[in-house]
Assembly symmetry: C2
Homo-oligomer: 279 residues x 2
C-alpha cells in the first residue's frame, strides 16, 4: 500500500492510497478518513465503507459529501473505494458510455468475456479491501457498516444482505434497488453476467431481500426531484418486497432533492449517526 | 440573468446563474445559495461574497466547502463568483499558466494591453455583481460581508479595505497579503498593471492597511502545512503592518492544515458565524 496524498480535515486525516489488487488484477486507489482521536492513541474505530455511483472515483465522496465533520465527532473511519477496475488492459465500454465499464463496475463479479478478468468489484469490496483496511488502519472489524449512492446504494444493500457478519449496518442514498428491472441494470448485468436472468438475482437487492433478510433495519433516502427516480431507481419495488418479506427498513422520500452530492451532503450526518448508533 | 442550475441543499437552494457583464465585456457565471427561510417568505438576508483562488470557477466553493449547512442555519445568502473573465475573445496567459489570465483575475482593474478590456474584476466584484444580486435576490445590502481563499483572500481584504461602507465584514483563508512582494503577485501585477510598482499599492492588502484601516476586525486562518506559506502567502507581513497601523485582526495559524478545501471546510463554520455575529 502506498500513500498518494494526505490532508488534515476536521482534526483527522483524509488520505488517498493505492495498492495492487490481486482480485481485480490492477492497481487501485481508495480514500480513507481517520478521525482525530487516532492521533491521541485511541481506537480501534468503527469503519464505514462508502460505495459511490456511476462515473465516480475515490475522490467524489471525500471532496463533496462533507462527511469528515461528523466522522471526526463520532470517531468513525470512512473508506471510499473507486467504482471499477482501472488502468492499462482494463476493458471499457466500446463507446465509452458513462453507465458501463470504467466507473461502472456495479459491485459484481463478471462472468462474461472480456469483463471477467478485471471486473470483480464484489469480491474486492466484500473481501480484499476490508482485509487490507483491517491490516493497515486502526479499525474494529466487528463494527463495520456499508453505505452508498445510486449504483453504490445497490452495492451497499446487496453486499450487506449477503455478508451480514461482515457489514453489520447498511444505508443508501437513491439506490438502484431493482437492477434486473431497469435500463442501467439490464445493460450492465446482460454484459457482465450474460443473458440468463436467473444469474442476475444474486446481485439484485429486491430479489435478495426475499431470501436473505437483514438482522438490522436498512435506511434509504431518496429525493423526489431526482431525474432518475421514475426510470432507474423505483424504490417502491424494494419497499414492497421488503415489506412482504418482513425486512425492516425506513424509506424517506425527501421532498425536492435531486440525485446530486447536494442531496448527499444534506443527509450524510443522519446516515453516519444512524450507523454509529447501531455499531 | 439566466438560471443555469438549481439544487436543493440543506433546505435552501444552491443555484448557478449567468449574465452578461458590461464591466468585463463577457458572459459570467456565479453561484448563489439562498437559505431555507426564503421559502417561508422571510428575509431579506445578510449576504456574503466568497472569492475563490487561482484556477477556480464558481463551482469549487459550492461543491467542496460545505458552507450551505451553516448558511441554512444562520439564514445567510452566499454569492460565489468566477475568478476571471471568460469566453471567446478574453485573452489568456500565452503559455496557459495557472497563475495568470483565465482563472487568475486577481480582483483588480488591469491597465495594460491586452488585459485592460476584460480584466476588471475589481469593479465587477465591488460594484456590478452586488448591484445585480441586490436586484435579483432577497438580500439586505446593508449587511454585506466578503471573504475568500488565497488569491480570493487578497481580493476580500483589499476590496473590504477600500469599500467598507459596502462590505462591512471581512475574513480570509490563506490570503496573498502582500502581492507586491511575492512571485504570484509580482507576475500578475507587472502584467496587469505595468512596471510602476507605485500603482500596485492600491491592490496590496499590506500597503492598503497602512492607509485605510477597517472599522471592524479581520479574521485570517492560515494552515501551517500550506505549501505556499513561506514563498507566496507570508501572513506575518500583513500582521506586522496591521499591528503598526492599529488595525484589529485575528491571525490563527492552524497546525497541520494545508492549502486545500479540506482546510476551508474545517473552518468555514467559524467564518460564517463570525460574519453573522458582526452583520
Amino acid at each position: 500500500m502506498e500513500k498518494k496524498s494526505a490532508a488534515k480535515s476536521f482534526g483527522g486525516t483524509q488520505g488517498v492510497y493505492s495498492h495492487s489488487s490481486s482480485v481485480l488484477s490492477c492497481d487501485m486507489k481508495f480514500a480513507v478518513y481517520t478521525p482525530p482521536q487516532e492521533k491521541h492513541g485511541k481506537g480501534p474505530f468503527p469503519v464505514l465503507y462508502w460505495l459511490s455511483g456511476l462515473t465516480c472515483t475515490e475522490e467524489n465522496f471525500i471532496t463533496k459529501a462533507g462527511a469528515q465533520r461528523v466522522a471526526a465527532e463520532l470517531g468513525l473511519v470512512i473508506v471510499a473505494p473507486d467504482t471499477s477496475p482501472r488502468g492499462e488492459g482494463v476493458p471499457d465500454d466500446p463507446e465509452g458510455a458513462y453507465d458501463f465499464g470504467l466507473g461502472a463496475g456495479f459491485y459484481l463479479n463478471a462472468t462474461q468475456e472480456p469483463w471477467s478478468k478485471h471486473y470483480r468489484m464484489y469480491d474486492y469490496i466484500a473481501k480484499e479491501l476490508p482485509a487490507l483496511i483491517e491490516k493497515e488502519f486502526p479499525v474494529d472489524a466487528a463494527r463495520s457498516g456499508i453505505l452508498g449512492h445510486s449504483m453504490g446504494g445497490h452495492g451497499a444493500i446487496t453486499i450487506h444482505l449477503k455478508n451480514q457478519d461482515k457489514f453489520k449496518t447498511c444505508s443508501a442514498f437513491s439506490p438502484i434497488v431493482a437492477p434486473s428491472q431497469v435500463p442501467w441494470g439490464k445493460k450492465a448485468f446482460s454484459n457482465y453476467l450474460g443473458s440468463d436472468e436467473a444469474k442476475w438475482a444474486e446481485y439484485d437487492a429486491t430479489a435478495l431481500v426475499t431470501k436473505h433478510q437483514s438482522k438490522t433495519d436498512i435506511l434509504i433516502d431518496q429525493g423526489t426531484a431526482d431525474n432518475f427516480l421514475a426510470e432507474q431507481l423505483k424504490p417502491e419495488i424494494f419497499a414492497n418486497a421488503a415489506s412482504a418479506a418482513g425486512q425492516a427498513y425506513t424509506l424517506r422520500m425527501q421532498e425536492g432533492y435531486d440525485h446530486s452530492y447536494y442531496f448527499i451532503a444534506t443527509f450524510i450526518e443522519d446516515h453516519l449517526r444512524w450507523h454509529a448508533e447501531r455499531l
